[in-house]
């Protein structure tokens, strides 16, 4: 089943609906063997009856067998709201293999939506942005919401530059209710600026999770000679020597990732680095654990 979570395999599936179903079903099937998580009202524990407890919760079958009065407790079931903020800037177009960062982000978002709406009965919404808010699907659990979200994902084509400061001013206006906010981006910004832009959502009671999407080549670039590199967002060109890419660049990227991780966690947010050749279950697992923590 793991192979259905492999982004290389998923890239061959054209329909986001089918893709999300494949991912989530495969992921859930794997979870059934795990004792840690549950998705509906389920038994939690027995507790001895004390006067004043609601008699409706007494387990009478147990009382009939043991003549002792115990309360049967269930884990409560609540609905949450998932909002995905998807970066659709030009830098997300980059790929060194079969999967672009944008496609990988789409797969994650589609899988999250499917998981949230079909399995968790949560409301889910989408904000697509680059240097402006390009598309917005209000979080809802209504019939056809999943189709609307997938359609919005299909429409989200990268263009323009990333400027997270500008659209985030509007995010507060769009997020009316507390819930889970997942920001999917490659975060080619100063980590301080990124945290400063996203932090207000946390202050409003949202659980914020940053999915940092990067290609393997962006972390460990391999140049076989001095090369001319073009910035996908600015079209700027520079000549780079392999020695630099091998040493200084790697150190800078590692420092950037580490800084982003530490700043977001210091601000009470979660951070997850996702490399485009990794399976998708990491992102789903992160979402579920965050959802559980939110309750």
């Amino acid at each position: 089943m793991q192979r259905f979570l492999d982004p290389t395999v998923l890239a061959g599936i054209s329909s986001l609906d089918l893709l999300a179903k494949t991912v989530v079903d495969g992921f859930v099937a794997g979870l059934h063997r795990s004792p840690d998580f549950g998705f509906s009202q389920e038994f939690a524990e027995y507790r001895a009856y004390v006067p004043g407890d609601d008699l409706r919760h007494v387990d009478w079958n147990l009382f009939a067998r043991t003549e002792r009065c115990y309360l049967k407790r269930y884990r409560g079931e609540t609905n949450s709201q998932l909002t995905v903020l998807l970066d659709a800037s030009n830098s997300m177009q980059y790929s060194s293999g079969p999967t672009k960062k944008m496609d990988y982000a789409r797969f994650i978002a589609a899988s999250l939506f499917y998981l949230a709406i079909r399995n968790q009965r949560d409301a889910a919404g989408l904000i697509v942005f680059d240097d402006e808010v390009r598309d917005y699907v209000r979080p809802s659990t209504r019939q056809g919401q999943l189709a609307r979200l997938f359609a919005a994902l299909e429409r989200a084509e990268p263009h323009a530059r990333t400027d997270i400061q500008k659209p985030l001013r509007h995010f507060q206006e769009l997020l009316h209710r507390r819930g889970i906010v997942i920001v999917i981006s490659d975060f080619y910004e100063d980590p301080t600026e990124v945290v400063r832009a996203i932090e207000p959502m946390r202050f409003h009671g949202n659980e914020v999770l940053l999915f940092h999407i990067l290609d393997r080549q962006e972390i460990r670039p391999e140049l076989k000679g001095s090369a001319i590199l073009i910035d996908l967002e600015t079209d700027e060109r520079i000549e780079v020597v392999p020695e630099y890419a091998k040493t200084a660049y790697r150190a800078k990227v590692d420092a950037h990732i580490e800084q982003l991780r530490s700043r977001t966690r210091a601000a009470g947010m979660d951070y997850q680095l996702l490399v485009t050749d990794q399976p998708l279950d990491e992102s789903l697992r992160e979402y579920l654990s965050l959802r559980q923590a939110a309750h």
Binding site: Y94, P221, E222, A227, L232, Y244, A248
Partner: protein, 686 residues
Amino acid sequence: MGFLAPWFLGGLAVLGVPVFVHLLRRHVTTPQPVSSLMFFERGTQSSMRHRRLKYLLLFALRFAFVLMIVLAFANPFVRRAAADANGRLLLIVLDHSFSMRAGTRFTDAKEQALALLSAKPHTQKAQIMALGGQLEVLTQPIAEEAQLRSALESIEAGDEHGNFGDLGRGIQPLGNTIRGPIDLHLFSDMQRTAMPANFADMVLPANVTLVLHPVAKGAAPPNWTVESVDAPSELSDPKDPRRSRVKAVVAGFGTPAAVKTVSLVVNGKSIATHKVNVPANGRATVEFAPLDVGYGFNRCEVRIGNGSGGGDDFPADDTSVFAVRRSDPERVLFVHGANDLRSAAYFGAALNAVARASFVLQSVNAEETTDIDPSKYAFVVLSDAVILPAIFEHTLQFYVAKGGSVLIALGTSAGHGARITLWGGNVQDVHDYARIGSPATIGQVDFSHPVLEQAQPVRDNGGWEEIKIFYAAVVDAGQARVAAKLSDGTPLLLDKPLGEGHLLLFTSGFDNLTNDLPLHPVFVAFVDRTARYLSGSERLSGSRLVDSFVQLHATGQAEGTSANVEVIDPDGHRPLSLSEARTAETIRLQRAGFYQVRFANGRDAVIGVNPDRRESDLQPVTEDVQQLWSESSAGGAAAQTADAKQVVLKYQSISLWWYVMLLALALVIAESALASGYMGTRREEI
């Protein structure tokens, strides 16, 4: 410059490969898109420049390497103008052999050579050589005229016998060393007797042009000379009519019949004069007897004329010198075994027959030698004396080490395994040929050995073939020289140097029981030569020819143990340095006159040295032969016609193939070193 195989230049098309790889393909670089240049920095400019320079250098090396390989196949050459004087080596060879003393030959030759040297361009290189008994190189090829002139003027007329074969052999390596053309100018009297036996020895290398300058024009002048002198080198009794006489041969070359006065001069004083009729172009013998000389060394000479020469243009050859040493008869110690009584009689009789009054044989039984001092004897003979008193044996060893000589005859007492006194070995076996009924004969005789020396041995092996050997011991020859062998290969006579002396081992005996040698006439001659060889009198006086050698030290002597020798040449100079006096084994007698030698064993010698009498025949080589010699070299052939000379000598093609290949090799090594460093960086990136 040209190419010997220009069609290989088509290979220059291969030069397109490095051009494509380095210059054309290099510009096709596809820019790579990246998400952001946020973390990238522009490459350091100096590093890139260095890399580019390295890259271009690698391209240049590869390009040059391919170019060199193509050029090597095309075989380039350069044409160097060779006809100009500066490109030709002027080689002046001046003959200073003895015959050049005749008339004004040597003076004329030297003047002509100096005139040629003066006429040469200042920048032209020249080299001076002198041809005498051997070819002497006096200068290197240089252009300094003063140095060349000085070398030429330093050549003096010599006493040696010249040979054009030495010239040919000496010039061969020079012709191979110097690639350019050489003009060899030979100033000589072109004497016929200087021609080698084989004409091929005279042929010069192809790049040598021989120009002959014969200083003897026309027919050879008449010349009388003392061709040979037969005189005793040792004399003990001046009244001995058989030995006390001097026999000289006066020869005329190209001379009419004449009456010549021949004098015998002893120590500068003419003691006898004879008139002799010398036939036209013939020889006459004159005899002086008795030879009355005083004790010690006497410097004698036979001279034509009464101090005024022989009446020809070549007075230097009118005299023949020799030394006669008068002394009391020397004693010879003959030690024999107890049973060996005949050997002393035979040996003594033979010795008395040839050298009467020169040697006196003293026969002693081996057991009675304890108190005998061998140093008082000319030499010692051990005949069938296997066992000697230890004291005498030790004294004998010391005697030989100091220059004494011993003749050992093994006889019949030397049985199987017996130790050979002084020799340093044992008898390995004995052959009793008499017992098997077929006596052995002497199969091989070394006539070059002084004891067996014969100028022209006749067909019966010089008289040795008839001798029958009945008994002989078998001895391991080791380092010894085998002078005679039996027909079955058993060594009969062995010679071994020991210290300054000699050991002569005769593996049979001197009686008529072990062989019949004492009964044959050859035994007398054998004893005579043996006595002279072992006593050393052969080399103490008498006469020799110029260019002959005198042995100063024994060859078998250990280094550092030899004593100094002293040699004084006819001019009163010491030709040997101190180190040479200690180490030189021989000395070459280069001058005519009397040499005084003191050998390492303390014995003095006076040796008369005469020029080779072939030099007295002044007949020159015919013009046909001279022309043939000149034309035998390519340069000489080219000199036949002026036009041909210009064509042949104007240009000389010098192939550059070897240099191009060397350059290509250097390039490929540099390319490998540079490319490995370049590729090494790339491997690190991966």
